[in-house]
Amino acid sequence: MNKKVELLAPAGDLDRLKFAIMYGADAVYIGGNKYSLRANAKNFNLEEIKEGVKYAHENNAKVYVAVNIVFHDEDTSGLGEYLKSLYEIGTDAVIFSDPLVIDVAKKWAPNLELHLSTQASVMNKDAAKYYKNLGVKRIVLARECSKKDIKEIIDETALEIECFIHGAMCTNISGSCVLSNYFTNRDANRGGCCQVCRFNFNLYDENSALVSDDDNFSIAPKDLSLASYLEEMINVGISSFKLEGRMRSSYYVATTILTYRRLIDMYVNNLRDEAYISRAIKILQRCANREVAPQFFNAFPGKDEQYYLGRQENSNQDFLGVVLGYDETKKEIILEQRNYFKNGDKVTVFAPKMDDYSFVVDGLSDDEGKALEAARHPRQVVRIRCDKMVPVNAMMRVNFLD
């Protein structure tokens, strides 16, 4: 196979940007303080973008900045200068949905690479050609596209095509939903979406008779996971595989990126390993807090791709900590704790350039060497007896596989 494909990670801040790249992302997408569809996220100022770009480029990765709101007139001032600044600090591309960005970029930053957001909902080759003719290099297709649609669009346009492979999904066609505006006055297309599609409702028929069982009617979809279809997606010619989640944690980013990195490398290098595929699917399912489905890629979604469990989401305390160092003399991991664990627990350490290492905690102490029964406090620095040397920034999680 040996086709070059890009693994594209979300990054909500500089810390997560670094973890994403460390754990195998070829590129990250981020939002600036202005013009980005995650108004509620921490987002990056220009200095932070500059630092992120520098870090990424030093590690052979790219940074794409989302400028993907649907603009009102009041939002457009300063856009030209902003695009120029992004270009000057080395941003590899901006992801936009509103075509005014094409015109403004042409004037202020003509060499800035433009990627069209899924928010523009391109579902066909002729719509793709419209943007190609205007100089757009890459299109993030609508999540409603099937494998056949994607292949034909690639074959007919020769554009770079980016597709989501993992994460939360809108139930509605992106850009075509303002439920949030009407329910909460938050502008869905300017970063204020409050996810009405996750709400529960009472459903009434045309005669006002209640149809639902109380308020169990929902329009929510299951999250997306195309882990089982990666090989087909590579063969179809998709250029970039994108994970959703600029508001997700560094653990989520590291786990999903590392897992997809290993899967993609396995397929690209013709090293299919059924045992690893099975483990990878389990890891990804465990990391997600909702049920997942392939949605539109392989078939038109029906009832089994909907989510009827209300706002119930599985949260777990799998993430136990980040490795700060390894004391070779004492053979101890120095770990910053994230969730409770204790002696006797089965844990796994994972990092980009090592095989996952599982062991039972047997010898736990605080930073000063005082023995502990358990690591109880968030951000507490603890030492764990471990014969195997593990790298800085490795992560430790509950061993849920063995």
Partner: protein, 276 residues
């Protein structure tokens, strides 16, 4: 600014309303219409009427539909209609002689965006319902594109490709035979209309927009009146009130339909953090 009144055709009776023109839906390519037509039916109506006829293909188009979609557009192109209202920019790549009006439901909110499309062959746009009167009038100052604005009817809130009603009924083994449905959150008063069509599921506000009181302040070219999913018996009265600018009917319309003015005087929140 001279404003023309267009009636969206949801049933045959609407043709008799007083107005300057009609917007007709096309089978397979329109959503949010009580009635849609095939090309031969549209051809007949265009021949018979002296009013302006716009034809709406307001849906996003799947790749597999493109050949047929293009054929339909080409057939419509020769009929002498006033404008083709399209929801998908694919239509902008075709060599069509008829004026193209872009209706992307919620995507055209700024002067620069509308001018982008105008400079790329679009004659006009259907403005979103998500912007204020001041924003509309600013756009009007800054563009040569024709501006269309819904002034009466249920605002569209969302389009999903999924069969959201059928999926629910199947999952919970329920019998769903209603033409349309309503949703309501627990302990909330507001209802929203849900309509599942062959092409997907669409949610509309439960209360119609009525901008009769502000139409003289709106700098747009066309006013769209739409009685989709509403009691159509009152459409002639509503159409006449808008056509004649009879503002005295505004309260009556509000009472009859529980109508409101939507976002015409209300800005949506943008940066949530700054506003909370």
């Amino acid at each position: 600014m001279m404003k023309k009144t267009l009636i969206k055709i949801n049933n045959e009776k609407a043709f008799s309303c007083v107005c300057d023109g009609f917007i007709m839906g096309v089978k397979r390519y329109s959503f949010g219409f009580g009635k849609t037509y095939d090309v031969s039916e549209i051809k007949k109506i265009v021949k018979e009427t002296k009013k302006e006829v716009f034809v709406s293909l307001n849906r996003t188009i799947y790749n597999w539909e493109l050949d047929d979609y293009k054929n339909v557009l080409n057939e419509l192109d020769g009929l002498g209609i006033k404008g083709l209202i399209v929801g998908d920019v694919a239509a902008l790549t075709y060599d069509l002689k008829t004026n193209i009006i872009l209706d992307q439901t919620h995507l055209n909110n700024s002067s620069l965006t509308i001018n982008h499309y105008y400079n790329n062959g679009v004659a006009g746009v259907v403005l979103t319902n998500d912007i204020t009167k001041d924003e509309i009038n600013l756009i009007s100052k800054n563009t040569k594109a024709l501006l269309f604005k819904q002034v009466f009817g249920l605002p569209h809130l969302s389009s999903s490709a999924r069969k959201l009603i059928s999926n629910y009924m199947e999952y919970f083994n329920k019998d769903g035979r209603s033409d349309h449905y309503f949703i309501r959150e627990n302990k909330k008063d507001d209802y929203y209309l849900v309509k599942e069509e062959e092409t997907g599921t669409y949610i509309f506000s439960g209360k119609p927009l009525n901008l009769l009181r502000v139409i003289d302040e709106l700098s747009v070219d066309y006013l769209i009146i739409d009685d989709y999913m509403l009691d159509g018996d009152c459409l002639p009265m509503v159409a006449k009130a808008f056509y004649e600018r009879d503002l005295s009917k505004s309260e009556m319309i509000n009472e009859k339909y529980g109508a409101n003015t939507g976002f015409i005087n209300v800005k949506t929140m943008y940066k949530v953090k700054n506003n909370e």
